[in-house]
């Protein structure tokens, strides 16, 4: 079931099961959960507008804060327009069905997260999965589709094609090869939807995500969707892109039209978080440094392997050799997690709905790095995990 609830909010130091630990499990990459400026901004908004918005965006649920936040996000990402949703999961799950309908074709990575899978299911389109980060496999599928098109050109003229990828994959901690994807996009005429929940506020010189990381023109990506629940330490999500693309969601995004809008205090907190991100562009480099450091420190632990890029702040620790049975693997990893918590390092198992996922990732421990963790704490975490792994696995 659930962990015994945290009595102190889950920022840098948390109390889990009665023990004080350092938090290596919440997606608080930029350490903004506890930031007093965010709290002050949210408090000001609470005093002005109350908590709830009492209506969807179309019916007096649009506040000046929402318009401000959309404006700021669009400016920050250097796109024409942005649209915000009140729930991170619903963002990509409503964006995909707004464009892709029955009869359209979507090429999606096998390691796509659950929200994308639900969005695809709701869209009723043809789904073609390609191996994780394998551009050759994707090209093969695109070529096959091209041959199909030549057989039936009339149908091909009305069938839209989309490629859905994540900037930084939640399930594997790897970065998608965006330059090759853009080349494939223009060659095979497919539009790219990029899900940047983990890479927004992490990758790139100014935190603008994987497009800045690779130096790609943002207009080449048709739609960027991200949630504000990781780096921005708020709640909700947003999509940004050209007005031609984004404006459509204002009437056909289900999670936008038929749901109450984001409470203004959460929007105000997100604006303040954006301010902090713009004022200190140095934190992204600091975060990268810490990621690289702990990545190196965790290499070579016997029995566990690190899955994920060295600059990814959320990566996985999987068993080097599986016992053959998923349940036993999960038990071993859970034992490691419990013992780490006893020694003051809070970790968590990566949770999945085992029966619902299309391609269930192997069981793993999720490790999250934040800017707030000091070098000693990173060292301590690495040694603790190493020791515990030795006792449990050998």
């Amino acid at each position: 079931m659930f962990f015994s609830p945290s009595l102190v909010p889950p920022s840098h130091n948390i109390v889990v099961n009665g023990k004080e630990c350092i938090n290596f499990a919440s997606f608080n990459f930029l350490g903004l959960l506890d930031n007093p400026r965010l709290k002050a901004a949210a408090l000001a908004s609470l005093k002005k507008c109350g908590v709830g918005t009492c209506g969807p965006r179309g019916f007096y649920g649009t506040f000046d804060v929402h318009l401000d936040l959309e404006d700021r996000l669009a400016k920050f990402m250097k796109t024409e327009e942005a649209i915000i949703y009140s729930y991170g999961f619903a963002t990509i799950a409503s964006a995909i069905p707004a464009y892709s309908k029955r009869g359209d074709i979507v090429f999606v990575d096998k390691a796509a997260c659950f929200a994308i899978q639900k969005g695809l299911q709701a869209s009723r389109s043809d789904i073609k999965l390609f191996n994780h980060n394998d551009m050759d496999d994707l090209q093969r599928l695109l070529k096959e589709q091209e041959i199909e098109d030549q057989k039936n050109p009339r149908k091909a003229r009305v069938t839209r094609r989309f490629i859905v990828v994540e900037g930084l994959y939640m399930n594997t901690g790897t970065i998608c090869p965006l330059p090759e994807l853009v080349k494939l996009k223009y060659r095979y005429k497919a539009r790219i939807f990029l899900e940047e929940s983990l890479s927004f506020g992490v990758l790139g010189e100014h935190g603008r995500g994987v497009t800045e990381h690779f130096g790609i023109d943002i207009d080449d990506i048709d739609l960027i969707s991200a949630n504000m629940e990781n780096s921005l330490a708020s709640i909700g999500g947003f999509c940004c892109g050209r007005s031609f693309v984004i404006d459509h969601q204002r009437l056909s995004g289900q999670g936008y039209c038929f749901s109450a809008s984001l409470p203004p205090l959460l929007a105000a907190a997100a604006i303040e978080a954006l301010n902090i991100m713009e004022e200190n562009p140095g934190i992204f480099a600091v975060l990268k440094e810490k990621c690289k450091r702990i990545h190196k420190a965790l290499q070579g632990i016997s029995g566990l392997k690190v899955v994920g890029e060295s600059i990814s702040p959320a990566f996985h620790l999987q068993l080097e050799e599986s016992t053959g049975c998923r349940e036993r693997d999960v038990k071993l990893l859970q034992e490691i997690v419990t013992q780490c918590m006893d020694r003051g390092i809070a970790l968590t198992l990566a949770r999945y709905l085992e029966k619902e996922e299309k391609y269930l990732p192997p069981p793993s421990i999720r490790v999250v790095v934040t800017v707030e963790q000091t070098e000693e704490e990173l060292e301590k975490a690495a040694t603790t995990i190493s020791k515990v792994a030795q006792t449990v696995l050998l």
Partner: protein
Amino acid sequence: MRTEPGGCCCRRPVRANDCVANGEVRNGYVRSSAATAAAAASQIHHVTQNGGLYKRPFNEGFEETPMLVAVLTYVGYGVLTLFGYLRDFLRHWRIEKCHHATEREEQKDFVSLYQDFENFYTRNLYMRIRDNWNRPICSVPGARVDIMERQSHDYNWSFKYTGNVIKDVINMGSYNYLGFARNTGPCQEAAAKVLEEYGVGVCSTRQEIGNLDKHEELEKLVASFLGVEAAMTYGMGFATNSMNIPALVSKGCLILSDELNHASLVLGARLSGATIRVFKHNNMQSLEKLLKDAIVYGQPRTRRPWKKILILVEGIYSMEGSIVRLPEVIALKKKYKAYLYLDEAHSIGALGPTGRGVVDYFGLDPEDVDIMMGTFTKSFGASGGYIGGKKELIDYLRTHSHSAVYATSPSPPVVEQIVTSMKCIMGQDGTTLGKECIQQLAENVRYFRRRLKNMGFIIYGNEDSPVVPLMLYMPAKIGAFGREMLKRNIGVVVVGFPATPIIESRARFCLSAAHTKEMLDTALKEIDEVGDLLHLKYSRHRSVPLLDRPFDETTYEETED
């Protein structure tokens, strides 16, 4: 010629004798000629006991669209469509300037993202009256609200904010039933305290490390409020439906869903993979026929029995203002051994003597409803949703709900707002504020509906529902009504196609306990004026009990007196 001031119809579960003492009832129809509202009400009370299922009169009516109005509405849409084609033609040949955004030059040879016809309605009809929606506000959405003024110089293609604020507009559009949308008072103070202590975000899911003591406190409170064993809460009301229905039913199950169910219920039902069958709105014969067929014929090809039958209904339907016939639904559910999923998004807090929703309103046992779902957006002034039911059900949902595993937990200050407002409604904060709000809302609803009906407007829905749809029908009147009311400082919500059937556009008022009698009187005066100006008083007091023809013609004979 019989006149029916607010007709009523309740179906009897058995074929009853045709005669009743006063000779005014035939086959379940109450016909009263020239009866006053009070007398009719008492007759209804005696007659519509339905074998004791209903403990109070169930007055719901949907007056038939007058023929002339229907014809004129179609003509109106026809003219608009013709002009739409003309404008599209002019835009195509560059005679008229094209305002909307276009595809990138580099991507012009891609398959076009939108079908031209899909956007025909948006470009040519919706754009003309677009200023009635998405009106930005800059104050708390209470009984009075401040709307930011905006102007358009290119016929609504783009808006500019003048910087002025239209102050103290009477708000008849926000879902603020019990008046908890406030920026002062005990709820706000408690939320502020929790904000200081816990911060705003959570950055993790319920199953990982985002489960806080505040969430567990809220869940216990919700369970005791509803009278169920356990409850679970989520961060978004829409997502509560779309992520939990797939966890409860799957392929091989049958979902019986009301015609007018909300988009979230429809999406949840589709994502589950179960077979969906739709019954006519609030029509119990239609539902019973579907249930009978399901049990008798089983699954389509294999004839095997359905694994589960789930009935999806809502407490109050927000476009019609109708209340679900819950006693009958529960009787049917028990008879045919189906499960019931009740979505109380609009009815929780707003109906019932203690504000516990539609179950309380009918005086039924909450244990009879298998899955009670609701949202905190409307009556509690926060955001999020909940599901309540037996402990087994909730324990199952804690491990199998998509939201618990993949979606971030609700934000702590929002949770605190719900806790404080719920305690207030339950009376646990030591004041009678909750009870007063509930009573005020009920009085406001009765008063407002009665006055509007007396003025001669066609009002849909149940007498006790705080959602009041006023029929406009013609497309031009949609825009005109919204704008005229804003000129008179009253903010209303107008809805047209596709949220409603094409000729049944309406203005929808949402009443609130925060509305004082003076505000309602002001609003009613202005509505009266605008109604005369736009010729909206269509009512001829000839009601048809159901929105469309009754399902089984043999049960209802259509005879004229």
